[in-house]
Symmetry: C2
Subunit: 248 residues, 2 copies
DNA sequence: GACTGGCCTTGACCTAAATCAACCGGACGA
DNA sequence: TCGTCCGGTTGATTTAGGTCAAGGCCAGTC
């Protein structure tokens, strides 16, 4: 897919199914040309920090491949992950000079960057972009609110199940949905990162993973490979409404 | 202020200081005219529900006066507040037919509503609006992430202190900042609502309020009126970075 | 083949907050 | 004037998850 860096600009487009954010050349051809002039790619190794909270950040970017996280850290070292960025997700805030969070590559990562100034100018000139960005930001806000329910009210077991379900879903949609019902994936996060995501300690994460395995909700092969024999059973453990509640 | 319902459209405008989202007639006069045609007001009494999660919602709105909350509820009744809407805040999502959360008036409430369809049309026609909305949504996303840190990693005492600081700040900025250092305000939330905000039980909220009073961090007069003799002392209790970290 | 360092697991114990329960005090209606 | 209801406080007890500590597993490397 040649124009992946353009994902963030496109309206949905039927025959480019990548997470409903892909673009194809025939829509948005003119933006493509302009964007080509201001974009550039950056690669990071797993574990590398992209920017530190408070650092000057003179670009916005979208994830091309790999996974990045946003985390906040308190003075005494307590950490909370506040964003998990998968391919096609957007980082950076037009109109802000400094990063508000630590951005870290948890796997090898490629980002498509746009220098902030020209990007902002283009945003003014091309209303599409602001609208697309608004849509994406609203999605992220919804995800954040879901996450707040998880952090505030779910038990450790529910938290783990929810995270596994989220990853399974995201992963499955990338893989064009493995044989429905049975699916498997590799965790892109360490136990500690999972803990930071869920507001738990890594020991509790480990214990609950073991418990879910013992109860046959998941299978584990090595430390990272997770098998889900029955996705509905996993969903029952999340505490979420069963109907899945897809609001368009 | 006659054009309060227009807050959501404006770029900042020096001499209209209401929470940096106000508008004055001379900027945006044309949008004003168009907006006037599609807006209407609705009032709700304290405790009334504006919409239930899952209900059809054919308008977007901004809060004119009073306070509303967004909450999520799990099947077994566990509740988590995921949004606190103060005057000038925006509710509703262009491009979505159903409400994703319960919206409730916690005080008497006036909202300025725009029917969704014409509003969306106007958004396409008037690029300003999408940009303003994007800016507001990004602010909300930041607030949500701050909130996630609170829910995931703060102690009960830190949570309470943080909430009080948030309300004090918002309140103070409305009142053009009372004599700096000493300030006082009325809690717009019951103990139970505070608990839903903070991911605690109402008993814990009550206990920690008493503890903060005992330790002279706050004063209480009746159940709702809070006095803050030393705002910095309150801030120390929040666990947040002391520098306040204002990122533009 | 031993050695190291990450990452993970498991056990024993502790504590912050939840739960359960009693009670207070003001508003309000009979 | 008396209930009683609602929001709030406080105490006793329980418990989920945190903390501390001891290993296990495995990949890389000397």
């Amino acid at each position: 897919m040649a124009h992946q860096d353009l994902q963030l600009l496109s309206h949905d487009c039927g025959d480019c199914p990548i997470r409903h954010r892909a673009v194809c050349a025939r829509c948005e051809a003119d933006e493509l040309a302009r964007l080509e002039q201001i974009k550039y790619y950056r690669s990071y190794q797993a574990g590398q920090t992209v920017v530190w909270s408070g650092d000057r950040m003179d670009f916005v970017a979208s994830v091309v491949s790999g996974i990045a996280t946003l985390t906040q850290t308190m003075e005494d070292g307590r950490r909370q992950m506040v964003g998990l960025l998968l391919p096609s997700d957007f980082v950076g805030r037009p109109g802000r000079a400094q990063a508000a969070y630590d951005v870290t590559a948890t796997t090898d990562l490629v980002m498509c960057c746009f220098r902030k100034k020209p990007f902002e100018e283009m945003m003014v000139a091309t209303p599409h972009i602001a609208q697309r960005l608004l849509e994406m930001t609203l999605d992220e806000l919804d995800a954040a609110r879901e996450w707040m329910l998880l952090l505030g009210r779910k038990t450790a077991r529910e938290k783990i199940a929810s995270l596994l379900a989220i990853i399974a879903r995201r992963d499955a949609s990338l893989k064009l949905r493995a044989a429905k019902g049975k699916l498997a994936f590799d965790l892109p996060l360490t136990r500690e990162e999972m803990a930071d995501y869920l507001g738990l300690t890594l020991e509790t994460v480990s214990r609950q993973m073991s418990a879910l395995k013992r109860d046959m909700v998941i299978g584990l092969e090595g430390k990272r490979h997770v098998m889900v024999p029955d996705f509905d059973k996993l969903l029952e453990e999340t505490g979420d409404d069963s109907d899945g509640g897809f609001l368009v």
